[in-house]
């Protein structure tokens, strides 16, 4: 039978760029975000690679990638992502930037997923990122699951193993660097992925060409949405603190370097 795996994946400015906060008419955002190249959110990208891997192991499975963002940016991101694994894109043409309300985002995603032709709820696995490299409310995926009526939800997932009877075992990250092992009797289920265990797939132009046959028509037909702020107010915004202190050391041992790093981190 296989699974119907829907991966919710946002696009974010390439984290390698210099990201600076800026306040626009819709609240806080990132300076010149439209200028910066976008990438698939790295956490969600892990979910996509895991989805493709799972689909490959379970014949008859299919992967959809649902992404909300400006059409032009989605197209740009697909040039790279489409070379990695096979999927069908379900784009939602929406606004870029800022920190949109998770409720509004989840509503748009759930409505779109519910309308995917041929998607069978009895075979559904909803994948996404547990976190976001650039912005993440930390609740969007759960809200999508709730709107779709899926009660079995797992977050911080690093591995899934499907058993012959259709049940599956999930490793979730918990405090103390440990994993919690859960067994779920079957789908539908929501899995918010941590980093997983798969390496980023190599670029394969044949995979890209096959994907592109459906991606470009889908982008042309992408439904446009606006995200209601629902009276959202931003109390404060902060960026992760960055420090750079480059130094070349050729005579220090690895232990000495490690000790200095630990002391430096401790001082923070």
């Amino acid at each position: 039978m296989g699974f119907h795996i829907v991966v919710c994946a946002g696009i974010v400015p390439d984290p390698l760029q210099t990201l600076e906060p800026a306040t626009g008419p819709n609240g806080p955002g990132i300076k010149t975000e439209m200028v910066l190249p976008a990438v698939l959110d790295p956490w969600a990208a892990s979910a996509l690679y895991e989805a493709a891997n799972l689909a490959g192991k379970n014949p008859g499975s299919k992967v959809w990638l649902v992404s909300l963002g400006p059409k032009a940016k989605l197209q740009q991101v697909m040039m790279s992502v489409a070379q990695k694994v096979s999927f069908e894109l379900v784009p939602i043409d929406g606004p870029i930037g800022g920190f949109p309300d998770a409720q509004a985002t989840a509503a748009a995603l759930a409505e779109t997923i519910g309308a995917i032709p041929g998607l069978e709820r009895a075979r559904l696995m909803l994948f996404g990122g547990w976190e976001s490299a650039t912005r993440g409310a930390g609740v969007t995926l759960q809200l999508v699951g709730e709107r779709l009526g899926i009660a079995d939800q797992f977050q911080g997932v690093d591995a899934i193993e499907v058993r012959e009877d259709g049940s599956f075992e999930v490793l979730e990250r918990v405090e103390g660097g440990k994993h919690q092992v859960s067994v779920c009797t079957g789908v539908p289920a929501v899995l918010g992925w941590a980093t997983g265990n798969l390496a980023e797939p190599r670029n394969n132009p044949q995979v890209g060409m096959a994907n592109m046959r459906t991606i470009m028509p889908a982008l042309q037909k992408a439904k446009m949405v606006t995200l209601d702020a629902n009276g959202l107010q931003y109390v404060s915004v902060s960026l992760p603190k960055q420090q750079r202190a480059t130094r070349v050391e050729k005579n220090m041992s690895a232990d000495e370097i490690a000790a200095e790093l630990v002391a430096w981190m401790g001082a923070e």
Binding site: Q17, V35, N203, P205, M216
Partner: protein
């Protein structure tokens, strides 16, 4: 002796397409735009039906080495005539960081810190200095007029990264062409049955993935696929792997040679609040930090400027360290009064092929055509290459449309009749002929060079100084093991090895250049620059793309120009005196290819620069 990674003998997957392009830049952008616009006007035209997928439109693929279409490394000012011809309603405001040119100035920069100057130049500087406060301000003399050949009136200031992204988005939305970044092409597929006399290309081969640094198969080995095409369009720039391999196999036309190069290195700087520099301002400079180094400042919208220098191969000094020179350049009083307090947003570098007509390769063969900078289109008299590259792409696009409509195959004969004829009749060719000998004089010195350039520029190329252009390795002045310079080099190398300081930085300091007063915002170490505004990335699983062919020769080399000139400090001095390469720092500028003083045959370099993955992720360049 070592050699570049050789493709492993395995059965490779093969894919058939109609047209395969190597490299996505302005030239390929012009080519694909021409095809896409024609197809979108009449998509049902049978001329556009694919031969490899009957019933479908032409299968047109473009493969780009860099990880993103925006990962370009050039801020340019261009007249943009060819670009505007493709987009008649173009408004620069549509393209991020683009601005219409408003004013242009040319400055001769006097030396504010006692850098190297000939006696004649010192005298000239002294005479100019007499006019302090009247015609010399901020240690700079503004030429009362900008020579017509330098003018970019009606043109645009662009970030090539943003321009590529803008063009790529339009093309992908157009629906005919597919562009795939992050896909390095190792070389063309030659027809094994044909000798070198018959120039035939059957398609492109991708770089192997899942290999170690020496190209040996490792975990996840994936042999590079073969893409076979009726037409292979080569637009991978001056140091692209496909273009290099074509030149290697077929040679260059009689009398042609690629001997003149420059490294363009620039910063994108956010100006301090209240800056008076107006978007659209263009400055050309010469005279500092070395007489041979030309510089520029282009003002983008939103308080961004591109500031950079060109370090040419004919500057014989083997310690030509571009990053350090650029730091001194931006501190010249003329620039610093605007830049001080600014923030470095990104930085990048690129090799420029400056031979022009002298270095033009065979433009066509059976199944292939060459466009853009790698085809010798850059005009070094006007200092312009983007619009020229775009236009050669358009010319090939029009030629391909003609052949498709006539149902003629892409043979050398047909491509020559359709593409080369267009190219010879166009403005790019006229400009190239005018510029052909404009720079010859620089090989006899800076003053000769300026006179020669002025002569050629003011007479439309009818007059120029003659000059013999030596191969790039011979343009590097020998240090000599026993002279003062040799002693200085050894001392600098000792210091660099002892305290872990980069060799090229130590060399510049040893030559008397003042230390850089780092401020952590704009004046930052070279290594920090690699981490700002885009950062350098290298996907695992690819082989080293810089290969030193003869380690003993490298150890014996006194000049070590490859180390001094490496834009990303990716080439460093190893403990045994041989250069070492770190792929994770390489920005793929290709400078190592022509900054090698140890030629095995008097012409070629001892360094191979092959197809590789990664590089700068900066989008603002």
């Amino acid at each position: 002796m070592s050699s570049a990674p050789q493709p492993i003998a395995v059965d490779r997957q093969t894919m058939e397409v109609d047209i395969a392009c190597a490299g996505f830049g302005p030239a390929t952008g012009g080519f694909l735009t021409t095809l896409t616009q024609a197809w979108s006007e009449s998509p049902a035209d049978p001329a556009f039906e694919s031969k490899v997928a009957p019933g479908m439109p032409l299968q047109v693929m473009c493969y780009e080495r860099a990880d993103d279409l925006a990962a370009g490394v050039s801020g340019v000012v261009t007249r943009g005539e060819g670009i505007r011809a493709s987009f008649p309603k173009l408004d620069p405001a549509e393209i991020p960081m683009a601005a219409a040119v408003k004013r242009e100035s040319v400055f001769y920069l006097l030396d504010p810190i006692g850098a190297r100057r000939s006696a004649l130049l010192r005298f000239g500087d002294f005479c100019l200095g007499l006019g302090r406060d009247s015609w010399v301000k901020d240690r700079a003399f503004e030429l009362p007029w900008t020579p017509a050949f330098l003018h970019k009136h009606g043109g645009m200031i662009l970030s090539i990264g943003q321009f590529n992204q803008w063009v790529g988005t339009k093309l992908m939305a157009g629906g005919l062409a597919q562009i795939w970044p992050g896909m390095p092409v190792s070389g063309p597929i030659f027809d094994g049955d044909n000798g070198k006399e018959k120039r035939t290309v059957l398609g492109l081969r991708f770089t192997d993935q899942g290999v170690d640094k020496h190209g040996v198969a490792a975990d996840g080995y994936m042999p590079g696929m073969d893409v076979r095409a009726s037409l292979t369009v080569v637009g991978d720039g001056p140091v692209g792997a496909v273009g290099q391999k074509l030149d290697e196999r077929f040679g260059l036309p009689a009398g042609h040679a690629r001997r003149e190069w420059a490294l363009g290195m620039k910063m994108v700087i956010e100006l301090p609040e209240g800056s008076e520099l107006e978007a659209g301002t263009v400055w050309h400079t010469f005279g500092f930090p070395e007489p041979e180094i030309f510089g520029f400042l282009y003002v983008h919208p939103e308080r961004l400027v591109s500031v950079g220098i060109f370090v040419p191969s004919w500057m014989g000094n083997p310690q030509r360290t571009a990053y350090r020179y650029l730091q001194h350049y931006i501190q010249h009083p003329l620039l610093w009064k605007h830049l001080e307090g600014g923030t470095l947003r990104s930085w990048g570098a690129k090799s420029l092929e400056e031979s022009g007509k002298h270095g033009e390769p065979f433009l066509t063969g059976d199944g292939f055509a060459r466009i853009g900078e790698g085809s010798g289109s850059t005009n070094m008299l006007t200092g312009s290459g983007v619009d020229e590259a775009w236009t050669t792409g358009v010319q090939l696009g029009e030629a391909v449309l003609e052949l498709l409509h006539a149902d003629k195959p892409f043979t050398q004969e047909n491509l020559a009749a359709a593409y080369e004829v267009r190219r010879r009749a166009g403005w790019v060719e006229r400009g190239a002929r005018e510029a052909k000998n404009a720079r010859n004089g620089f090989h006899r010195g800076f003053i000769h060079g300026m006179v020669g350039m002025a002569l050629a520029g003011l007479t439309g190329g009818r007059l120029a100084l003659s000059g013999k252009i030596p191969p790039a390795p011979k343009q590097i002045r020998k240090i000599g093991a026993h002279g003062k310079a040799g002693l200085r080099l050894r001392e600098a190398a000792k210091v660099a090895m002892a305290d872990g300081r980069p060799l090229h930085d130590a060399l510049m300091s040893a030559r008397g250049w003042p230390e850089i007063p780092f401020d952590g915002r704009l004046l930052v170490t070279h290594q920090d620059a690699l981490l700002m505004g885009g950062k350098v990335q290298a996907m695992p699983g690819f082989a080293d793309h810089v290969v030193f062919l003869d380690r003993q020769r490298c150890i014996a080399c006194e000049e070590k120009t490859c180390v001094a000139m490496c834009s990303g400090q990716a080439i460093t001095l190893g403990a045994d005196g041989a250069p070492e390469f770190e792929r994770e720092k390489c920005v793929h500028c290709g400078a190592c290819l022509w900054n090698c003083a140890q030629s095995p045959d008097g012409e070629r370099s001892s360094i191979e620069f092959v197809a590789g993955s990664g590089g700068l992720h900066s989008a603002e360049n």
